[in-house]
């Protein structure tokens, strides 16, 4: 009698794969809009045409009043007020600029200085013509060549920042996302890492600070931005990467600003999110390989056993 088993196996595999394809890849394709990556080129922003001078940039940053809201810890400029009070004043705590030059794209920084709502892609929320100003005051120039002045300021920020190669996933995440998003699995709150407290009283005081900050943030953003602990699994990497690049591509009209990070920083942000939500990925890979080897050996022995037992049956 002809052995029909290969044919039967092919039929079973065929129908299983058809079902899988329809339920997984095809259904996802229908239900989720595909967003192409823009490769973090920020092609809509004008190129920087001037060569910046960091020393001039330092002067400009001092004189333009940046430090009125932003701290630059590295340059010895502490925050004018604490995170909770800053959020009460501006909606969100203005970032420390120490490493901004390494985290953010230069073109983005230049445009941000001149026209925050445009660079951040939140013009639908902040329209100067309607009297709705973005909390960050645009830089109107110090009387010289505006483009040169902005290039100098960017050059200054780049000169004080750590080398982009030294940006860790944690630094990248905290700078780019951490003032709006908490990551409870990494004990990260919008006002900083939550330490281990000895006294319940101190812990409650910290929690109250977080809650107060979140109240301001909620009012500013319309709702509390989600905790990102499990986002690496609830959204995929491609989604997160393209969302960081331009939130409007995924969620038209969202209050989330374009973050303006470099491609390298975005990769590190994703790395941080994997550390939060997919901690055991390295262990999984090494254990997986060993288990697969073991199981293949088991299957080979099972096959040999079957051959031996069935020798007498035919």
């Amino acid at each position: 009698m002809k052995n029909k088993e290969p044919l039967i196996l092919a039929v079973v595999v065929f129908f299983s794969l058809v079902t899988y394809y329809l339920v997984e890849p095809y259904a996802h394709h229908v239900m989720h809009k595909h967003v192409e990556s823009e490769n973090f080129a920020y092609a809509d922003l004008p190129a920087i045409t001037k060569t910046g001078n960091a020393a001039n940039g330092k002067e400009l940053v001092m004189n333009a009043g940046c430090a009125g809201c932003h701290s630059i810890e590295k340059a010895g400029m502490p925050a004018p007020m604490d995170a909770v009070m800053a959020a009460q004043s501006y909606g969100v705590n203005p970032p420390d600029l120490s490493d901004a030059g390494a985290i953010y794209d230069a073109k983005f920084l230049a445009d941000l200085i001149k026209n925050p709502a445009h660079a951040l892609k939140v013009e639908h929320k902040y329209d100067a013509a309607q009297g709705k100003m973005h909390p960050m005051v645009p830089f109107y120039g110090m009387g010289g060549d505006m483009d040169q002045e902005v290039a100098d300021m960017v050059a200054y920020l780049q000169s004080i920042a750590i080398s982009p190669a030294d940006v860790t996933p944690k630094i990248a995440f905290e700078n780019a996302c951490g003032r709006c998003h908490s990551v409870s699995y990494e004990k990260w709150t919008q006002v900083g890492s939550k330490p281990a407290f000895k006294h319940k009283k101190d812990e409650l005081a910290f929690d109250i600070k977080v809650l107060e900050y979140q109240d301001s943030l909620k009012a500013y953003m319309g709702k509390l931005p989600p905790d990102l602990s499990m986002y690496i699994r609830s959204r995929n990497e491609q989604f997160i990467s393209t969302l960081i690049e331009n939130p409007q591509n995924h969620l038209a009209g969202t209050a989330m600003p374009r973050v303006g990070v470099t491609a390298d920083t975005a990769d590190k942000v994703i790395e941080y999110m994997k550390d939060a939500g997919d901690t055991k990925r390295h262990e999984r890979e090494s254990v997986g390989m060993n288990v697969m080897i073991y199981i293949v050996i088991f299957a080979i022995f099972a096959l040999l056993w079957k051959k031996q037992v069935w020798r007498d049956l035919h």
């Binding site: 196996l9 299983s16 329809l22 339920v23 699995y185 699994r233 069935w310």
Partner: protein
């Protein structure tokens, strides 16, 4: 009292007290299996192995899972996934096995339908199998609730709403099932109990019944041959192993079972380590939020076909047809009026019925996941109507079948 002699060995000592030799004969060495069966008959063993994987991984998960609405999500996604050594492995094994077990069940079911294994004295095998299917469905649904993710919560909401009976508006019944107006603590705790205690006990009992139902009619074979098991087994025991039409379960067929299990486990662990995502809906990694509905609500893939029978109709008709689809498979042995229990390929119109049923269920499965809009809802409606019509046609086309 029975007469006991001094035992000559441990086995003899046990044999006098537990009749292990008799048990061994009945269960393994003289449990006769036809020779002309293919690897599809090993799906039973594959299911046993998968069930054991589910049970063992479930026990480990149970050590750390917290059945409370405030802690369930984090106990799974933080404690088990991050803090417990190899917790991620147990969870992925459990999640993947829960999905794969249904794939194997469906293959097992369609094997039975194709070869007519539910007929001629084998009705109880089929019925107990369908009861197992229902028990596994309950087990899967109750387990799906436990991590208290977004889709868990909303699937729980949608499925329990079905018990309102459409325009009967039996809202009291729905609240009684939930123990609250919406899925909340009482709901989670009782589904936890169902998942870890009551339904597993029922499943184990039903597995026993399913095995017992095989004992007298024996398993079917791929040619629909009627085998004289007594004569053939005598031939085997007299030494004509090659000439006999039957073989022992152990080690003869079991060695083939194990070979299939070996291949299956390669596939299974590939999924566990490298493609676990297919079994876990990403939406479920967002914590349950009763104030925010997901964009699309759908059940796990193995319930999609019956969900799609519910969806394209108005609620009352949909519920009635959904109920029909849930129970109709149980009656298959009685709806198939043909006296032939041979493979579908040798059976007239039933051949087309079989492949048609397979395809219509795959179409329903696909449409059940897709949003019910435009073309998809039309295809879903047509497929649901064809599904119902095919079951109505089954007794007619099979009674027209010639006796072989």
């Amino acid at each position: 009292m029975a007469h006991f002699t001094k035992a000559t060995s441990v086995k003899d000592w046990l044999n006098q007290r537990l009749a292990i030799e008799k048990v061994e004969k009945v269960m393994a060495s003289e449990y006769w299996i036809p020779k002309n069966i293919n690897f599809l008959w090993a799906m039973g063993m594959v299911l046993v192995i998968t069930f054991v994987l589910l049970l063992v991984s479930g026990i480990f998960l149970l050590m750390y899972y917290q059945p409370s609405v405030g802690m369930a999500f984090d106990s799974v996604n933080y404690t088990i996934m991050r803090e417990v050594g190899f917790g991620w492995l147990w969870r992925h094994v459990h999640g993947v096995a829960a999905s794969v077990v249904f794939l194997i069940i469906y293959i097992h079911m369609f094997t039975g339908i194709y070869y007519g294994s539910y007929k001629k004295g084998r009705e109880m095998i089929w019925i107990s199998g369908m009861l197992l299917f229902i028990a596994f469905s309950t087990e899967a649904f109750s387990g799906y609730m436990l991590p208290w993710g977004q889709m868990s919560y909303w699937a729980g909401m949608v499925i329990t709403n079905l018990f309102s009976g459409g325009s009967l508006h039996a809202d009291g019944l729905v609240e009684w099932i939930r123990g609250d107006y919406v899925p909340a603590q009482a709901f989670l705790t009782r589904f936890f109990m169902l998942h870890v205690l009551l339904v597993p006990i029922a499943i184990m009992g039903l597995i026993g019944l399913h095995f017992a139902a095989l004992r007298i009619p024996h398993v079917n074979n791929q040619d629909g041959d009627e085998i004289d098991f007594e004569a053939e087994s005598k031939k085997y025991l007299d030494g004509d192993k090659a000439g006999s039409k039957v073989m022992r379960f152990a080690n003869d067929f079991m060695s083939k079972d194990m070979m299939v299990v070996g291949v299956y486990l390669v596939f299974f662990f590939y999924l566990v380590f490298y493609n676990y995502g297919f079994a876990m809906d990403p939406v479920n990694f967002d914590p349950a939020d009763g104030l925010k509905t997901p964009a699309h609500i759908y059940p796990e893939w193995y319930f999609l076909w019956s969900y799609e029978i519910l969806r394209p109709f108005n609620i009352d008709l949909g519920l009635a047809l959904f109920g029909f689809a849930q129970v109709i498979f149980v009656f298959l042995p009685f709806l198939d009026r043909s006296p032939n229990s041979v493979p579908a390929s040798r059976r007239g119109a039933f051949k087309y019925w079989f492949w048609g049923m397979l395809i219509v269920m795959i179409v329903l499965t696909a449409m059940g996941k897709l949003p019910p809009e435009g073309m998809f809802s039309t295809i879903g409606l047509v497929a649901a109507i064809i599904f119902i019509a095919m079951w109505i046609a089954l007794p007619i086309i099979t009674s027209l079948e010639k006796k072989l």
